[in-house]
Amino acid sequence: MSDQDEREIVGRIYAELSNEAKRLVVDVLTLEKESLHLKDTAAARTVSDQIIRKVEGIVK
């Protein structure tokens, strides 16, 4: 599979998502990137709470 194919498949998976899920994908990846320094237990608690805040903001 070429890089181009790979990008197309990733793009397709993303495109098939609802607008709400698309927004959550971006938000969650940003949250995780900012929390990479946290240890597993702390991250599990903090990030899952933040995901809830994000999804509450998306699905009102």
């Binding site: 599979m1 890089d3 790979e6 498949i9 990733v10 998976i13 993303y14 098939e16 998502l17 609802s18 709400e20 899920a21 959550l24 994908v25 969650v28 990846l29 949250l31 995780e32 990137k33 929390s35 990479l36 320094h37 991250a43 599990a44 990030v47 899952s48 709470d49 995901i51 809830i52 999804v55 509450e56 998306i58 699905v59 009102k60």
Partner: protein
């Protein structure tokens, strides 16, 4: 990242300040640092990782004694002593200076040190300098610690990347490279968030008690799944470790007189057994497919004949179902009235039409139905015979393969017994130990299989319970909103899972291709390397038409490991021009700093590695003893060397004999070891023209 310089102040054996700047030109990209064994090379390698990440490798002794011993001893009690390492590097057009330092007050002979502080300064292309907040975060973005171990390398340990046990390290590196860590972590955190929302459903009174019970059960499943995954990872590592140990013992047996032939015979038998076992599995799979598709036919031996006999009887009685029965029409004609109420007097058109129907009714249809049924029943019998024939054939072949495998296992046992009978104690001990390891491997693999099954069960239970929660009566708007949020989280999780699988595998394949290209340039043997689907580095050789594991050697292991490092460096370089905006990841040129890379290899491999290193990446720092680099390696590197340094080791010990006190580099002598010195420690001198 291009290394510009490093400055050490009172760091470990280096008292005072010592600065090295590094070769950067593309044609002369190698900095060669000579140092005797135990003389400060490994410390210099560790200076980079300590400055950038605050870490020393596990083989560094007395890690708490960071400050140079002589400086500490000479300082009066109560005085302040400063220690630091400053690494200057360039990345994406900016120059960074990472400085980790500490100031300690001497209170006695023991070094009680405060936490070192890290500062990171950035100078942009216009020459403006500023100190960056979150210094560690910036460094981790430029070169994540998890990836740094492939660029700041202890040559004696890099070879271990070829061990089966190294798969986790390789897998982690690949994921870091592509920025997939955040994806992995998201997949842990999204289900937790979804279940926290399900708890809100309970509190809002949506089928209250049942929702509460189910969400509690899902929480427990998530917790158990995480525990089982960790247990699985640790068992997987143990399996690979045991395989490595068995490989080592097998290789050892091949070097011992008396055992060599038996071990070779065992390897031949093991390969044959693997091949027979694979055929056996295939035959069993084929048989299972036949049974699943047409197995029911085997259980119908009498039925076709019974069907034909029953139908014959019905046919004779004219009772086979047909669209229109003759007796039915005759009854209507006798009664003189149709079922629709029309009178059927003789000579009427209606009666004539019905008489025509009587002539046609039944016969042709019955015959057609009979022929169709007879044909189907006949095929049934034929299909049954074919299926039985295939099953009998499969049974026979499976039986033969099983016998063959059993015989091979017996022969393998005999080899083991023969080995144990050999008079040499070391052979016996190795064989007994090998047998124990195989038993442990078998038991650990069994447990691993059990965990896999358990994880599948947990996943199915979780899905079932989530569906149950979803089906709960959601009456009010608030609960409906919560369920929509859960659905969005679940869709996000599914999409990220698919993307993670896709990207992990595609980058593995890309690296595999790069490794093959690099190894082909470097290897002295006609071996084929592979980064396997299990993230293991292997190499194979072709014997006749077959591909089999190639005999492992330190030289080839080293070259394969270096090919992997080179492949990672290439992937980073290409990622800089082809970034993935979605996940980020790591991109850019990276240097390789390598200690003891020539090890105790023979001349051919030292030459080959010396030729290969400058090609691996844009900048290389080689730390080596003079003895290991001497001759072929120096010759091969000569054209690419841009800078050279000597680490001079001082020892207060004076009764040493046969010590290399001076080495000659580029026609000039430099002190290498100073025996009977006034201090123990090291100094760095640049080789000048």
């Amino acid at each position: 990242m291009k290394l510009l310089s490093i400055e050490l102040e009172n760091f470990r054996p280096y008292g005072g300040r010592h600065r090295l700047s590094f070769a950067q030109e593309s044609g002369h990209n190698v900095t060669l640092v000579y140092g005797t064994n135990g003389g400060g090379k490994t410390t210099l390698l560790n200076a980079f990782t300590w400055a950038l990440y605050g870490k020393l490798s596990s083989d560094v002794e007395q890690q708490e004694r960071l400050i140079n011993n002589r400086v500490w001893q000479d300082a009066p009690v109560g005085s302040q002593i400063e220690m630091s390492v400053e690494a200057e590097f360039e990345h994406e057009g900016r120059v960074y200076t990472a400085r980790r330092h500490l100031m300690a007050e001497k209170q006695g002979p023991d070094q009680k040190l405060p936490k070192p502080q890290l500062t990171l300064r950035e100078r942009d292309d216009k020459g403006f300098t500023r100190e960056l907040r979150s210094a560690q975060g910036h460094i981790d973005k430029i070169l994540p610690e998890r990836l740094s171990r492939f660029f700041f390398v202890n040559g004696e340990r890099i070879e271990q990347l070829v061990r089966k046990e190294a798969y986790a390290e390789i897998q982690h590196a690949i994921k870091t490279l592509l920025g997939l860590e955040q994806l992995e972590r998201a997949l842990k955190h999204l289900p937790l968030a979804a279940n926290k929302l399900r708890h809100q459903l309970k509190s809002k009174g949506a089928d209250g008690e049942q929702a509460g019970r189910l969400t509690g059960e899902i929480d427990a499943i998530l917790k158990e799944t995480e525990e089982k995954k960790q247990e699985k990872e640790s068992l997987r590592t143990e399996v690979q470790h045991l395989k490595d140990e068995i490989d080592l013992l097998s290789a050892r047996l091949k070097t011992l007189d008396g055992a060599k032939q038996l071990q070779q015979e065992r390897e031949r038998l093991e390969q044959e057994r693997e091949s027979v076992h694979a055929s056996l599995r295939k035959l069993e799979d084929d048989r299972a497919r036949v049974l699943a598709g047409s197995g029911y036919l085997a259980f119908l031996p009498e039925l076709p004949q019974q069907i034909i006999a029953a139908c014959d009887a019905l046919r004779e009685k004219g009772q086979l179902p047909a669209p229109l029965k003759r007796t039915f029409i005759e009854d209507l004609l006798t009664e003189g009235a149709c079922i629709c109420g029309t009178h059927l007097p003789k000579g009427s058109l209606e009666r004539a039409a019905l008489e025509t129907w009587r002539a046609r009714a039944g016969l042709a249809e019955v015959e057609a139905a009979w022929n169709q049924l007879r044909g189907n029943v006949a095929t049934l019998e034929e299909r049954r015979s074919t299926v039985l024939e295939r099953l009998f054939d499969a049974d026979r072949l499976i039986g033969e393969a099983s016998d063959k495998e059993r015989s091979l296992v017996e022969q393998l046992n005999e080899v083991s017994i023969e080995l144990k009978k050999l008079p040499q104690e070391d052979i016996n001990a190795i064989e007994v130990n090998r047998g124990k390891l195989i038993d442990r491997l078998s038991e650990t693999s069994r447990r691993l299989g059990g965990i896999d099954e358990h994880l599948e069960l947990l996943a199915a239970q979780k899905k079932q319970k989530e569906e149950q929660v979803d089906k709960l009566q959601v009456k009010d708007e608030n609960n409906q909103r919560i369920q929509r949020r859960i659905t969005v989280i679940r869709d996000t999780e599914n999409a990220l899972r698919q993307i993670l699988e896709l990207l992990s595998d595609s980058i593995r394949r890309r690296l595999d291709t790069r490794i093959r290209d690099l190894f082909k340039q470097a290897s002295l043997k006609n071996y084929e390397p592979e980064l396997t689907g299990d993230f293991q580095l292997e190499y194979w050789e072709r014997v006749g038409g077959e591909t089999m594991p190639a005999p492992k050697s330190t030289g080839e292991n080293m070259l394969l490991s270096l090919s992997f490092v080179g492949a990672i460096a290439q992937e980073c370089r290409d990622a800089a021009t082809n970034t993935n905006p979605f996940f980020g990841g790591v991109g850019g040129e990276y240097p390789v700093v390598m200690d003891a890379v020539f090890g105790n290899l023979d001349d051919d491999y030292r030459r080959q590695i010396a030729k290969f290193l400058p090609e691996m990446t844009s900048q290389v720092v080689v730390l080596s003893s003079k003895a290991q680099a001497d001759g072929v390696a120096e010759e091969a590197l000569a054209q690419r060397i841009g800078k050279q340094y000597i680490i001079t080791t001082h020892t207060t010990k004076s009764d040493l004999v046969d010590v290399t006190e001076k080495i000659s580099v580029d026609g000039r002598d430099y002190p290498y070891q100073v025996v009977g010195s006034s201090f123990d420690g090291a100094e760095i001198t640049e080789v000048t023209a």
